[in-house]
């Protein structure tokens, strides 16, 4: 079930209504049933994978806690890791691995052929797998006690607002929240609905509109020149932001209506002043997951410098692979890894110099502009690999940018509508974010003291969504991850 569907518009209010009507002790049953139903709307058979992950991790964590022997604890941790990562590898990476091996064989004229499986990627598999893995690792580390209630644990793994595209929640945060008795609070419903409206604006007005132009260019790179590639890449940056942050906003809003507090996943990423800052603002739940469960176990920054830089690079390389089973994503991760290492080295070097005197907030805003621009250039460059259909296309696009500027592609007749609406949406988004970034606490339509101003602002946002949004079933990009 897509968030941007009539089905969800009926499903969510119905679940919320029943949720507040029934006694709190039965709510987990309602939410678990609703979550399974929500997932089964895509492919009923794949619910088995979620149930299998749930049961294995529930059992593994109980055993980790119950046994005293360190070796046996590790054994149960391995059971959880192998089963979850095994499922993930089989469904998401097997064909990529297989076709890469085949290509390698062909290079050496070896006639062996690794099989390619005809399987569908289960929606959101990378998200719920990482979420449940973090739980068993936390129990193993002794940071969390094992959950004794299978129902609540199953709900933690499959909670429908964040099941298929995050935010990737930690058991230490979400599990206690799910068990808490929630009462009907005006503030929660109001905040939740506002977040949902904002999410739909980002998805339907920005992401889905931009995607029409981006697809037209990126699916036919041989027909366009550098200026068009730059325009399409800028639009793609907002497409993926609108798509993913929009989904997160709807997810956080849907949970908030029922009183649950999901973590913030995006924080104005295109105002980051360096790559480290970008990753503190972009897909926060994933970057912190990688920090806590990969980067730190690798040694983090408590090792010699070259190992530290290697840890950073490896973390981002694997993060790239998490995003998709394609070399384009691996290169995307590598680019971020390289620039993160450079940014960290630069920071280390500048520590040795005299600290700069503090400047006023406004001047600080202006001073951050070169950093924002250079960060965005790097991020945009990396997005080329992320969006390109294959590595060859990515290099065609980069080659086009540097050698063949060409003319800006403006779709004929009706086609001009897509970049126009997307541009309008991006302008509005950018203005709001710039205001929040640099002029905190000043006048805001959406956070005005006057309730009528707030109400009109959100009503106009709904008007904009209905009037220029895309309603023909656009998919969320991150479902494939």
């Amino acid at each position: 079930m897509l968030f941007n569907s009539i089905q969800f518009a009926l499903f969510l209010p119905l679940v919320v209504m029943v949720y507040y009507m029934i006694p709190a002790r039965y709510r987990y049953i309602l939410l678990l049933s609703a979550s399974y139903y929500f997932y089964m709307c895509w492919n009923p058979a794949y619910i088995i994978l979620i149930i299998a992950s749930t049961i294995i991790d529930f059992y593994a964590a109980r055993q980790i806690e119950a046994v005293a022997d360190k070796g046996r604890k590790k054994l149960f941790l391995m059971l959880s890791l192998c089963s979850n990562l095994g499922i993930l590898f089989f469904f998401k990476y097997f064909n990529f691995f297989s076709s890469s091996v085949n290509s390698l064989f062909q290079q050496f004229n070896i006639m062996a052929e690794s099989p390619i499986l005809d399987i569908l990627l289960p929606v959101g598999i990378s998200f719920y797998t990482f979420q449940t893995l973090s739980y068993t690792i936390d129990v193993y580390r002794g940071e969390k006690s094992a959950e004794t209630h299978l129902g609540y644990f199953a709900l933690y793994v499959s909670f429908f607002p964040q099941l298929v595209a995050g935010p990737i929640e930690r058991s230490t945060r979400l599990m206690p929240d799910l068990k808490e008795h929630k009462t009907f609070k005006y503030e929660n419903l109001s905040r939740g609905i506002k977040l949902i409206i904002w999410g739909f604006f980002m998805k339907l007005v920005i992401a889905d509109r931009a995607s029409i132009y981006v697809n037209a260019v990126y699916n036919n790179p041989e027909e366009h020149g550098g200026i068009t590639f730059i325009a399409a890449t800028i639009l793609f940056a907002f497409q993926i932001y609108g798509d993913f942050a929009g989904y997160s906003s709807i997810a956080i809003g849907s949970a908030r209506i029922m009183g649950y507090d999901l973590m913030q996943n995006f924080n104005r990423p295109y105002f980051a002043t360096n790559i480290r800052d970008f990753w503190r603002r972009w897909h926060i739940s994933l970057s912190t997951w990688f920090r806590d469960y990969l980067y730190i176990p690798l040694g983090g920054n408590r090792v010699v410098k070259w190992r530290w830089y290697m840890n950073l690079f490896l973390t981002f390389l694997i993060s790239g692979l998490w995003h998709g089973a394609n070399w384009t994503f691996v290169i995307w991760g590598a680019i971020h890894g390289v620039f993160l290492v450079i940014s960290t080295m630069r920071k280390e070097w500048s520590k040795k110099r005299q600290p700069k005197p503090k400047v006023a907030m406004y001047a600080n805003g202006l001073a951050s502009i070169p950093g924002i621009i250079s960060t965005n250039v790097i991020v945009l460059f990396a997005w080329i690999f992320f969006r390109a259909n294959n590595v060859q296309d990515a290099f065609t696009i980069i080659g086009g940018i540097f050698t063949n500027p060409g003319e800006l592609f403006i779709p004929g007749n009706a086609g001009v509508a897509a970049p126009l609406y997307a541009g309008l949406g991006i302008l509005l988004l950018w203005t709001i974010e710039a205001k929040r970034e640099f002029y905190k606490g000043k006048f805001s339509f959406f956070k005005s003291e006057n309730q009528w101003v707030r109400m009109f602002a959100y009503a106009l946002l709904v008007v904009l969504i209905v009037f220029v949004g895309v309603f023909d079933g656009g998919q969320f990009i991150y479902f494939q991850f």
Binding site: N413, A417, F467, V468
Partner: protein
């Protein structure tokens, strides 16, 4: 504040918010409607003219092939009757059938040419999504359009309660044609430029397996029935294909021809006409004739359909 008070506060504010939304939706929606139906040129202006103004004796219908291939001036000169070109780019038989149903509520032309393509019955999901272009006409033709909107989604008729939604995505087109008017001659829009020669073996209509669309077949059937019910003399015409490829081998085209024979509707097939095969100077792209090609084709069509216009 207790739960009950919080609920009352929420319900009250939600009701106010809904009221504001309804007021904005209705008022801006009416404004958008006025703008939509005041267009002078462009895609929607032509459709509006077809549905609400033209009294032409001969109307040409179809997709971009119809729009670009039938020079109305030439047809009028050769046939000595008023002609209007109602071709709509990117819209196939489902849309054409909906337009015909709306048209006959006001005006049934004496003759109608429906330009058909060899892949008319091939299933294409975009065909259903593009039915959204019928939304602006829903308020005038609710009962006629409801079955078509349901093909897009069962929830579509409910969405139509919003006036704004009926004009979703139309505003950019309106301003685009206002800023840069698109001239037409009784609906015919010229296409300039020539296509470079295509590589040997290029096919415009690939022969790989393609699913048939039973809904499109039924719509074609209904199109013919509606035309007959309103005494419209219907003639089917297939446009030339630059490659001159064997489109008869396509199952979808075979079925279309069988349907035409079954209903006793003439089909003039120019798809393999040697006057156009590999004549790249007559084509704008692989699929469409340019102005020169359209002139030649319109003369040929006028001659071809003359015998069928006698009664």
């Amino acid at each position: 504040m207790d739960t009950q008070s919080q609920f009352i506060q929420f319900a009250r504010k939600l009701a106010i918010f809904a009221l504001i939304l309804v007021i904005l939706d209705q008022s801006i929606g009416i404004g958008a409607r006025e703008l939509y139906f005041s267009q002078k040129t462009g895609r929607y202006a032509r459709l509006n003219h077809l549905l609400y103004e033209t009294e032409a004796e001969l109307i040409v219908m179809g997709s971009s092939h119809a729009l670009r291939h039938y020079d109305t001036e030439i047809l009028e000169q050769n046939l000595e009757m008023d002609v209007y070109n109602g071709g709509i780019q990117g819209q196939f038989i489902l849309f054409q059938e909906a337009v015909l149903e709306m048209l006959v509520e006001r005006h049934a032309p004496k003759h109608m040419v429906l330009n058909v393509a060899p892949d008319f019955f091939v299933y294409q999901p975009t065909t259903y999504e593009r039915l959204g272009e019928l939304k602006p006409y829903y308020y005038k033709h609710q009962e006629t359009l409801k079955p078509f909107m349901k093909l897009k989604s069962v929830f579509e008729p409910f969405k139509m309660f919003s006036k704004l939604y009926q004009y979703n995505s139309t505003i950019a087109h309106i301003f685009r044609y206002l800023a840069s008017p698109q001239p037409d001659v009784e609906g015919y829009v010229k296409l300039e430029g020539e296509i470079p020669p295509l590589p040997e073996g290029t096919r415009i209509y690939p022969q790989e397996h393609m699913d048939m669309d039973s809904v499109a077949i039924a719509a074609f059937d209904q199109f013919i029935k509606t035309a007959k019910e309103h005494d419209i003399n219907l003639i089917l015409v297939a446009s030339p294909v630059v490659t001159g490829e064997d489109v008869d081998a396509l199952k979808a085209y075979q079925l279309l021809k069988q349907q035409a024979i079954f209903h006793g509707i003439p089909l003039l097939d120019y798809s393999k006409d040697p006057s156009y095969t590999h004549q790249y100077h007559l084509f704008h792209d692989g699929n469409h004739l340019n102005t020169e090609g359209a002139k030649l084709f319109s003369v040929q069509v006028a001659e071809g359909i003359k015998p069928f216009l006698q009664n």
